[in-house]
Structures are given as C-alpha cells and as structure tokens.
C-alpha cells in the first residue's frame, strides 16, 4: 500500500512524499513504515506504542480511529494511508514570545 507522508515528517523518509509498504492491516503498514524509517517511530507513537493524539491516520477517506477494527483494519495493495498531523489553535491562552525576538503589536 502507499503511505502519504506529510511535509514535516519527510525529513525522516529521505524526503519521500509517499512510501510503499507491504502489510495486511493498517497497523502492519505502519509497522513496516517505521521499520523502513526508524526515526519516524518517536514522531508517530507514544512510548507505549499508541498513535500520538495529534497524529491522524486515514485509510483512504476514513479516520482509522473510527473504523470498527481501528488499526487492525484490513487493507489491500490499492489502499492509501495518509498520515496528517492536526492543525488547530486560536487566540486563547497567554501570548507567546517569539524565539527570535519579542513582538510589539501595533
């Protein structure tokens, strides 16, 4: 199956945007991906082996977390997995200070 890699994680896949792996399930595919690119492991999984909360994995157009079998879902060679970190935020919370310099807002 093909796994789509988001831009921030391509530093760990030799800049590849997609990686081809073999595996009968989503979990097997992810395991194969990490086996081929070990540096990804810490970015995708917590120390106890669970997907990090901000890492979304989609099987084609379906969020794997909400599939009946979740990561144990069966996949075929034509399926696509997409790893997509979450994007969110907002003005709540205390203002930050830029690492390079503080800002003065007009």
């Amino acid at each position: 199956m093909k796994i789509n890699i988001p831009t921030p994680l391509r530093a760990f896949t030799d800049k590849q945007a997609t990686v081809e792996v073999n595996g009968a399930t989503v979990q097997a595919g992810l395991d194969a991906l990490v086996a081929a690119h070990p540096e990804l492991k810490n970015h995708l999984f917590t120390p106890d082996g669970k997907l990090r909360s901000f890492v979304n994995v989609y099987l084609n157009d379906d969020d794997v977390r909400y599939l009946p079998a979740a990561e144990a879902s069966a996949v075929s060679a034509d399926d696509e997995l997409t790893i997509i970190p979450s994007i969110a935020g907002g003005r709540t919370g205390r203002p930050g200070v830029s690492a390079s310099r503080a800002l003065c807002c007009r």
Binding site: P6, T7, P8, S86, I87, G90, G93, L103, R106
Partner: protein, 151 residues
C-alpha cells in the same frame, strides 16, 4: 528564512479574516520549501470546525486537509504553511497556537483583525523536529508580484 507570498495571496488571506470576523478564519498555504524559506504558490480557504468557540479557536478537519494536500500534489505543490486570524487580538501566537503546532518547517501566519479590519500580519516558522525542541521563529514576509520571484 523568509515567507515568500504574492501580494494577491497576502491580501486574500487578510480579507478572509475580515469576512469571518468576529470568528477566526483559517486556511492552508501550498507551495515549495526552499533554502531561503517557504514559497507560497496558492492559498486555500478551509472551514473552521470549532463552531463551538469560533471567536477564539480554529481547527481544520483532517479530511479537508487531506483533500487540499491531494489537490496540491496534482499541481506539484506541498503544504508549506497555514494561516488564521485573531479577532480583536494581537497577531502573535498564543500558547494554544504553540501547543497545537505540529507541522515542523511550515509557516504559521496570523492576522489581527481589529473591529472587522485586518491590521497586522505576522509569520512564524515552526522550527525544531520534536515536540520537545520546537519553537516559533518570527520570519519576514516577502511580498512578491508573482509566484517564484526572488526564488
């Protein structure tokens, strides 16, 4: 490192914030990452799924992000950043923005929209490679007349 963006895209992302005021707008920047910074070739508006608190929070659904990424790749473009607005609040990243930032190497653009009018727009590059060493670095916004200028 600078954010390279056309005047048209820059104006469009600021206008988006005015349109959604008093709610936060959000969108995706597509383009190319180069040695001198991220070059934006197109911006894509996204829906804010935080309808429960849209005046001070934003979230882009992963499936919308995936579809934007797919369309971008068809044009040879990658996700190089995101933008959102801060209604009646400074164009400065918040602790929420920082905690929710996971796209290393990408640029996060924030526009303050004061009483419905876009005011200051700032760009922050998310440096680092892990949640432990990540940092927002303010970067200059370089306005170009056309995509690819100053490349």
């Amino acid at each position: 490192m600078k954010l390279h963006i056309t005047q048209a895209d820059y104006d469009a992302l600021r206008a988006h914030g005015e349109e959604t005021y008093p709610h936060e707008c959000c969108g995706v920047m597509l383009g190319h990452a180069k040695d001198d910074g991220n070059h934006v070739a197109a911006i894509v508006r996204a829906g804010n799924t935080r309808t429960d608190s849209a005046h001070n929070r934003y979230n882009i659904s992963p499936i919308e992000l995936i579809k934007i990424q797919r369309e971008g790749r068809k044009q040879g473009l990658d996700i190089v950043g995101f933008y959102h607005s801060h209604p009646d609040h400074p164009a400065m990243w918040s602790s929420t923005d920082f905690a929710e930032a996971h796209w290393f190497g990408c640029c996060y653009v924030i526009t303050s929209v004061d009483k419905g009018k876009a005011n200051l727009t700032n760009a922050f590059h998310l440096s680092g490679t892990t949640e432990d060493d990540k940092a927002f670095q303010q970067e200059e916004i370089l306005i170009t007349e056309a995509v690819g200028e100053n490349a």
